[in-house]
Symmetry: C2
């Protein structure tokens, strides 16, 4: 925090800004010159601090809620803090791992408990998206369940299983079914879902050589089932933490935020956004106030992390809290989590 490659900020100003923000993060109250005067080891009188603060305000790093109140950080101030001032903790990571791993059950369970743990750890609202497998077909099987129903099962590379029930008009004999199975497996194996389009299906029908209506129907149904977009699963926790922060409770702000957590579609676009913004080497992204892609969260800070499960499979974790959030703690949590999710989730694949 000695360095300042930022415009015009001399060493002392940086120190003061740092002190202001830290103090505000801790108390949530506007901080005055006298406080800083004693807080720092700069040994400066409050009057001096006042002058510096006036400068910092002019530069846009802090603002006054009203005359005769202390200063609070602006978005720009927070940004500077996150980019330059914040210390990176390096704490031991064992506890977290243990907590999650203990009960490695289904993926869903794991994700839920990860979200929950993060929420209790940070006291903010959290979300985590299930990894999105853009995956290849590994195995397909059609089985005749009853006279008028065919069950199609598709296993993906990641061992995710999809099934789809197909209603048919007339019965399909076992022989044809077997033939179809072989055909499908040899034709579609290794293809990504996106690669299976109308053309592929048409060619398949051709190859099948059996020009009965039933076969055609089954193929179409299967194609449709495969093309169906699996919708992004999102798990949240601690949404009510939002109510703990008065600055988020004003107006119907809180309601909107809570709704967003219940409805989840805004969270989905958040996930898509962050996955698109191929974030820096750390994989962690901080949105302060208006920087956020989601309008509903413009009074919050949003910290997201993308995690990767080895084979290019990605997901997103998000923490939503007030702008005066404990960035250090949050980012620390996300960082360790990110490094562990790979191991944790791979153990519990298979939906």
């Amino acid at each position: 925090m000695e360095k300042n490659n930022e415009q015009l900020l001399d060493d002392r100003k940086v120190k003061i800004l740092d002190a202001i923000i830290r103090n505000y993060l801790a108390t949530g109250e506007p901080v005055g010159s006298r406080t800083i005067s004693k807080y720092t080891d700069l040994n400066l009188s409050s009057a001096t601090i006042r002058n510096e603060m006036a400068d910092l305000e002019e530069l846009g790093y802090i603002v006054q809620p009203h005359t005769s109140a202390g200063r609070i950080p602006s978005d720009k101030g927070y940004r500077f803090y996150v980019d330059h001032l914040m210390k990176e903790k390096d704490r031991e990571v064992s506890e977290m791992k243990k907590f999650v791993i203990e009960k490695t059950q289904k993926m869903e369970q794991v994700l839920k408990s990860v979200a929950k743990m993060l929420a209790t750890n940070t006291n903010y609202a959290t979300m985590i998206s299930a990894p999105t497998y853009h995956n290849k077909v590994k195995f397909i099987q059609l089985s005749s369940v009853s006279a008028h129903q065919i069950l199609a099962v598709v296993v993906m590379n990641s061992n995710i299983v999809k099934n789809h029930m197909i209603d048919i008009e007339e019965e399909l004999d076992n022989e044809t079914l077997l033939k179809l199975n072989i055909l499908l497996n040899s034709a579609l194996n290794g293809l990504a879902l996106q690669e299976i389009n109308l053309a592929t299906i048409a060619r398949l029908k051709e190859q099948a050589g059996i020009h009965s209506q039933v076969v055609s129907d089954v193929m179409d149904a299967l194609a449709q089932a495969l093309s169906e977009q699996e919708d992004l699963q999102i798990y949240t926790s601690g949404a009510t933490n939002i109510l703990k922060y008065p600055e988020l409770t004003t107006s119907d702000n809180a309601t909107n935020l809570l709704s967003a957590f219940e409805e989840k579609d805004e969270l989905i676009s958040l996930v898509n956004e962050t996955l698109a913004e191929t974030s820096s080497e750390t994989g962690i992204q901080v949105y302060i106030g208006n920087e956020t892609p989601i309008q509903t969260m413009k009074d919050c800070s949003v910290v997201t992390a993308t995690y990767e499960l080895g084979d290019g499979v990605k997901g997103t974790i998000g923490i939503i809290g007030p702008k005066r959030m404990d960035y250090e703690n949050v980012m620390d949590n996300l960082k360790t989590l990110r490094s562990q999710l790979d191991g944790i989730l791979n153990k519990s694949k298979g939906s």
Copy 2:
């Protein structure tokens, strides 16, 4: 509302009580004697009303928030209202049906939109549980997906499909697999999941005649997969409606309620509770205040309805709001919904 088989309530008191409650439901404000004096067609002076109100208070049907305030209904008052006073609307039901049916997609989608519609219709928080199929096995299939993986697919009577991936040590040849499939189907077909226990499996192993470790392993894994309790899916909507009612916002009440909606485990016990209480012929249950099985909701009213999908498959719908909820509207909604869910959901079976 002419009849009063309730203790000591003469006709006039009933009318006054009715007026008080209706008024309070509409305004949310304590209602005074003067209001009632004009509201009803009884042509009584406020003084007379006051006397009657004093009586009603002594009998426990209404309470005063404080001296020199109007009266509001007590739990007992609400109960009386719901049991005897409330009119049953009979409105046309078409709109609701249309709205939901239009987009009959997957069950999950349908349930979500039902909850949403209810929430917007009533302005309360709503939940709906997915139907619980205590179901019989219709079809089982083991398939070899790769050298060390077997996929077990089980189709239930209701066309719900469960799949489970089984890791195996040594490869299983096709012939054995086929044999197993036949065996499993003939042995387990028609059995309810609960009927498949260790004994059944042991007997099956016996019958298989193949005493290889692999077969035994597969059987065990399958048994375990089958016995796994599918956890009750619950969809909610409009949880934030809770914040609209000041009487629920006091203290950390709202937080607890909202958390309940996020965490869902309390909702699950609510569902279990209501399913157990084999409710009356109408299938609708009203819990007022402390009557509710869920402590968190002791300041609310909870109205639940169980719906049935022909084949004994049941689910629960719940509406959670303030005690001064519009019971008529709520119950009306639930009633029509109940009568339609059967048709709606049967169209979109298959998870």
